[in-house]
């Protein structure tokens, strides 16, 4: 690592650490990367764009269980075979077989059902003038979208939400002490996924599981265990992230109510409205990679094994790339990295982009004058953030 004294230092494990802070903005103005207590943080858009896709960096999460004292077992086996952590030809093969099912043309038929769901959830609270956004909208919406995609009865959404949230504990530093409940949840989800796969093999439908069961590339297809691992990853990776991002999105527009009104009057801007939130207030506040080899990049020297964090919100508001970084849903922008990038670019981004655009459209169409109406609670501003509790008051429109 560079020993240049001009390189700033950020303590990212400090409970008070905040991405939206003068300290982080100051570090970005000072230099393109910072040292942290967990490796290097890349702060500027230009460098995130270049280095995030650099083949000298691997995804780096593969050793997460080992780093937390977990070296075997059901969770270990699942995690270390997940697309998320695979590299090289093993990754490319699985990714190729999964990618087409998540392409826009396969998602198009589901969009009217996402919209009907958003309208149903809004209708339930519209006359109350208040909602707890996480419980009343974001969590049921994010989970039932997954149910619709996978062809699971929507009535089972609470089971899916519980399993996804429990397995999500595995991303915490308390993994080892939570391992028992994580593995119980994963075993239950395995059973769920295996039943789904067997059912769609026998009774093909019009859902994403059927598309994956039938996925074929030059004679190659996914084995039953590869399918199961992928479905579990999809549920694990698709629910919390969308729930959190929706909460962050609504919070952003509560601070930019003129933009909310603009969206309500111009629903064709909904896709941009999602991009602006992902750029300025992403749930994944950093994307992590690990150096595979020793290398130098300008004045940054890293050794193999060094962790490199790409700060998405910080690079997404870099004034060099975004001269007017405030939310503007009419602006043409260069790409942000809220969905990561390179070969590990988020698999489900087309789903997330589409379902969040629909949610924001329906919410802005029916609700105006949004304001915090009670005590809000938030996850830490590191890793994957978002509201735990977000009471919102509004006027019906």
């Amino acid at each position: 690592m560079s020993t240049d004294v001009a390189v700033p230092y950020l303590d990212i494990s400090d409970p008070a650490f905040a991405m939206h802070s003068e300290a982080v903005r100051g570090a970005r103005a000072q230099h393109w990367f910072a040292r942290t207590n967990y490796g290097v943080a890349i702060l500027r858009h230009e460098y995130v764009s270049k280095l995030l896709k650099d083949p000298r960096l691997s995804q780096g999460s593969g050793k997460w269980p080992d780093h937390n004292g977990v070296h075997s077992g059901l969770f270990y086996d699942w995690w270390t075979q997940c697309l998320l952590v695979l590299e090289g030809d093993d990754h490319h093969r699985i990714r190729r077989l999964l990618n087409p099912a998540f392409a826009p043309k396969h998602l198009e038929p589901f969009l009217p059902r996402f919209e009907a769901l958003a309208r149903e959830l809004v209708e339930d609270i519209i006359d109350k003038g208040e909602l707890e956004f996480v419980n009343d909208f974001a969590e049921p919406y994010a989970t039932r979208v997954l149910c619709i995609l996978l062809g699971i009865p929507e009535s089972e959404w609470t089971t899916i939400a519980r399993l996804a949230s429990t397995i999500g504990l595995a991303l915490g530093v308390t993994l080892k002490q939570d391992l028992g409940i994580v593995e119980d949840a994963l075993a239950e989800l395995y059973g769920y996924a295996e039943n789904l796969i067997a059912d769609r093999q026998a009774n093909p439908g019009d859902d994403l599981v059927t598309t994956l069961v039938q996925a074929n590339a030059n004679g190659d297809s996914l084995s039953d265990s590869e399918l199961r691992n992928a479905l579990c990853l999809l549920i694990f990776g698709g629910m919390d992230t969308t729930r959190n991002q929706l909460g962050l999105g609504v919070m952003s527009y509560m601070h930019n109510l003129d933009q909310w009104e603009l969206l309500a009057q111009n629903p064709e801007l909904a896709r941009n409205a999602v991009e602006e939130v992902m750029r300025t207030n992403p749930t994944t506040t950093w994307v992590t990679r690990e150096a595979v080899v020793d290398f130098e990049y300008e004045d940054l020297r890293v050794t193999a094994g060094t962790t490199v964090h790409f700060f998405t919100q910080v690079s997404g508001t870099d004034p060099e790339a975004y001269p007017n970084p405030e939310i503007d849903i009419t602006a043409e922008r260069v790409p942000h990295y809220g969905f990561g990038g390179g070969m590990h670019h988020c698999l489900g981004h087309f789903v997330a982009r589409a379902d969040m655009a629909i949610a924001l459209t329906v919410l802005s169409e029916r609700m105006t004058n949004l304001r915090i109406s009670g005590k809000d609670e938030w996850l830490p501003d590191s890793g994957n953030t978002g509201p735990v509790r977000l009471p919102i008051g509004f006027d019906k429109r």
């Binding site: 490319h92 990714r95 990618n99 826009p104 670019h345 981004h349």
Partner: protein
């Protein structure tokens, strides 16, 4: 079959290289390089590459 990549949209993620590795590749600088024509036998793979591109930067024409 003609292949066009809109360089104002392409962000060099390289997802297309998984679908059609003989048509699309990333060079040593990580920049996408691609053939501008391909044999009809590759149509399925090239159209899949266009479908899955995160930036929707690839157009395939006859």
């Amino acid at each position: 079959m003609q292949i066009h990549v809109d360089r104002t949209k392409c962000d060099n993620h390289g997802q297309c290289t998984f679908s059609a590795p003989t048509v699309f590749r990333l060079d040593e600088q990580g920049i996408l390089q691609h053939e501008t024509t391909a044999d009809e036998s590759l149509r399925h793979d090239v159209e899949e590459a266009a479908d899955v591109c995160p930036a929707q930067a690839i157009t395939v024409t006859d």
